[in-house]
Amino acid sequence: MLFYEYSFIFLFLPATLTVHFLLPASARNGWLFLTSCVFYSASSLAFLPILLLSVALDYLLGRSIHQAASLRARKAWLCASVALNLGLLGFFKYAGLITRTLSDLTGSSVIPVLDVPLPVGISFYTFQSMSYTIDIFRGQASPARSLVDFGAFVTLFPQLIAGPIVRYDQMDRELRDRRVSVDGFAEGARFFVLGLAKKILLADSAAALADPLFALQEPGFCAAWASVLLYSFQIYFDFSGYSDMAVGLGKMIGFEFPQNFNSPYKATSFSDFWKRWHMTLSRWLRDNLYVPLGGNRQGPVRTQWNLLLTMLLGGLWHGASWNYLVWGAYHGGLLALERALGTRNVLLRLPCPARAVIVFVCVSVGWVFFRCGDLAHSVVWLGALLSPGTLGASISWNTWVTCILLLGIVWLMKNSWEWKARFGWPENALVTCGFIASVVVALGKGSSPFLYFQF
């Protein structure tokens, strides 16, 4: 079930909200746990037991860590939790890639290629679940009151499938006691509608123009650039739209989820970009990977290595493919280079808009690895991007107009979080029209699934 589908907007959501508000506060977490399982089942019923198993084991391991008398025992329980979560993630996500690569390398059929179907949202819920036990180990969070509370935290339907990745201590208070005001509900509804419009009206429009371009056998210079720009907009509006919907749904039931995107294409450096793009994942990787590796405390060379390794693993988190690994290395390399140059970085001498353009172009080029199915295809695309001599097929006017419009939106307009809560008639009418248009377009065309569902 996807947030823009009829069954979600007209059936699941109203039913869930109605019962949620009718129930006493003590029963609401249980209701959310139950409905989140139903929500998950509609997408991935066969994998629900794995989700529930992960929830139950991490809940028990969290308690064990908290109750353990010695540091050694706490470490052992933490290792068990990390092994469980990474084991699940590793098996379902990477077993296919590893066995295929080994099989290709050995050139024999001795090693069977495991083609394991990927449970929806596993990358997100394992990270979220793992952060709970890590936070308890560090003393930054206390154990959940009950399995139901913890179950509601991990499986909460607004963020179950594609984040934002929320730390337990951020939600602990709301799980114990939360209130929803009319104002909060209205803000949530508006966040949801804005996210819906971003996904359906902007991201899917960009996709409709980008997909035929990416299907070209021999892209020219213009087609390659147009496709890369459009895909940059598609992935941003798609994922930030999903995040806005998640934040909005959270507000509607009394949870405050963290911001996941902060106008990333306005970033003026690569480190700035990663503070604005998929912020909850960046924070997770920083707190649980980069800092434990030593962060920037062990000299410049080690810092750059840590950055590269963190981004490599961050890339691999997105999917079991060499493309994601290269994409991670590309961003890790850019971050390491930026840090190594320090004040000698020529970018710093340029005015902010020029820096934003350069960062945007570099980030867009990186998306080639995301969009192209394999490395060979990516290389063809990168070649076309760097071959101004071969203009290739002409690009229709609406492609360029769309690029300019979307560029204007990402560079000149405020994002959903900056758009302060003005609820005058013009804003209300605009958002309502956005809702109607999004529903009509989603039903009329049938939208593509959220891009981040595949991760």
């Binding site: 009829y6 089942s41 066969a46 290629v113 804003e427 209300n428 109607i436 009509v440 009329g444």
Partner: protein, 380 residues
């Protein structure tokens, strides 16, 4: 603190919009497009023991959103107890045609499919084993009946663009065994349990689609969307209109039919080995095997495409290479191109669809009947 007036009025306005859209969605109309094709059972076949009768237009007509090129017709779609498109008495017989949507008979009536034509010509039942895309061999080999009651002749008739490496393993599909072995439940409790959960999911999906597809809201949305979106984004890039016999016909580009890809891109070696392996498995169970791929429109009406499209055609055609390799390995092949080219006017495909028209299916069925008779004669 009292709620702000602006936010309260926003909720009212949004709520009214929601209620209007919701009310529209519950006014039911005929299902849109070919509803039965959405009622999949697992990934192989359709919902068992179902009979639907409804108006339908072609897939290209639907996807191109050109109402003038949508030819609506009333069709019946009936499935047997395993979800294959068979009328009573034909769910398992001496002749089995394994294939994809061409064999299923997408866009044509129960009485017009290739296996039905073949059955009429041969004078005995023929089983339609049309599955999703290239999964026919996988499903067939997983079907216990192919071992216990091997048919006399198995015809593997994929569309040209589905001639690709045949998946014969079991790891890459979810539930072919459950679908095909329903008569003999699995002894493994875990797989039975997964299967029953999976079927609940199928029910939910089917129910969800039913509501979405039948609603007035969806129909209105699609009409509005047609006007606005296609003006903006253009028609789907892979659909062309050509003229055959003085009338327009919607077709896929030659590229989308896989006709411009060479042997490497289409993995000739693996394709041939996969078909040969399927043939060996079928023969080992005691059935005769015939490979009879069904040409796509681009192969039969190539000359009706614009010159610019034809420039990229692979030469020699991929199917030619497949035939050569298979014949040299002793696999019986039927080349349907001569028969279809000879009778190509009036048009053999549906004008708003990628699939064969009743006349096209008739021609293919007759050609296959000839091939089957030859196989049977050689057996004697």
């Amino acid at each position: 603190m009292a709620p702000s007036r602006g936010k309260t009025s926003f909720l009212w306005v949004l709520g009214i919009a929601w209620a209007v859209l919701f009310a529209l969605s519950w006014i039911s109309r005929s299902p849109f497009f070919r509803h039965w094709e959405l009622l999949r059972e697992g990934i192989v076949a359709f919902r068992p023991l179902t009979q639907l009768e409804m108006p339908a237009c072609g897939d290209l007509g639907r996807n191109s959103h050109i109402s003038e090129l949508q030819y609506w017709r009333r069709l019946r779609f009936t499935t047997d107890e395993l979800g294959f498109r068979n009328l009573e008495g034909a769910s398992w017989s001496r002749f089995v045609v394994v294939g994809d949507s061409f064999v299923v008979g997408s866009g044509i009536d129960d009485s017009e499919t290739i296996p039905v034509v073949l059955s009429r010509v041969l004078g005995e039942p023929v089983t339609n084993y049309g599955c999703v895309a290239g999964l026919g061999p996988l499903a067939y080999l997983a079907d216990t009946r192919s071992r216990e009651l091997p048919p006399g002749v198995v015809v593997w008739a994929p569309a040209y663009r589905v001639v690709e490496p045949v998946p014969l393993g079991t790891a890459s599909v979810k539930k072919p065994c459950e679908t095909t072995e329903r008569g003999a439940p699995s002894q493994n409790p875990f797989s039975r349990w997964i299967g029953s959960w999976g079927s609940v999911g199928e029910e939910i999906t089917a129910w969800k689609m039913l509501i979405e597809e039948r609603s007035t809201l969806t129909c209105l949305a699609r009409s509005m969307f047609h006007e606005v979106y296609w003006w903006f984004a253009g028609r789907p890039w892979e659909i062309r209109a050509i003229e055959v016999d003085g009338l327009p016909a919607l077709v896929l580009t030659l590229e989308a039919q896989g006709l411009s890809a060479g042997p490497e891109a289409r993995r000739l070696q693996e394709t041939v080995e996969g078909i040969e392996q399927f043939k060996r498995s079928v023969s080992a169970r005691g059935s005769r095997f015939v490979f009879a791929p069904i040409p796509d429109v681009g192969t039969i009406y190539e000359d009706h495409y614009p010159e610019s499209d034809r420039g990229g055609l692979a030469s020699p055609p991929f199917i030619e290479l497949v035939f050569r390799a298979l014949v040299s390995r002793g696999v019986a092949c039927v080349d349907l191109r001569p028969a279809l080219r000879e009778s190509r006017l009036p048009y053999l495909y549906l004008r708003d669809d990628t699939h064969l028209s009743p006349r096209g299916a008739e021609q293919v069925g007759r050609a296959l009947a000839g091939a089957v008779r030859t196989v049977l004669a050689s057996e004697r």
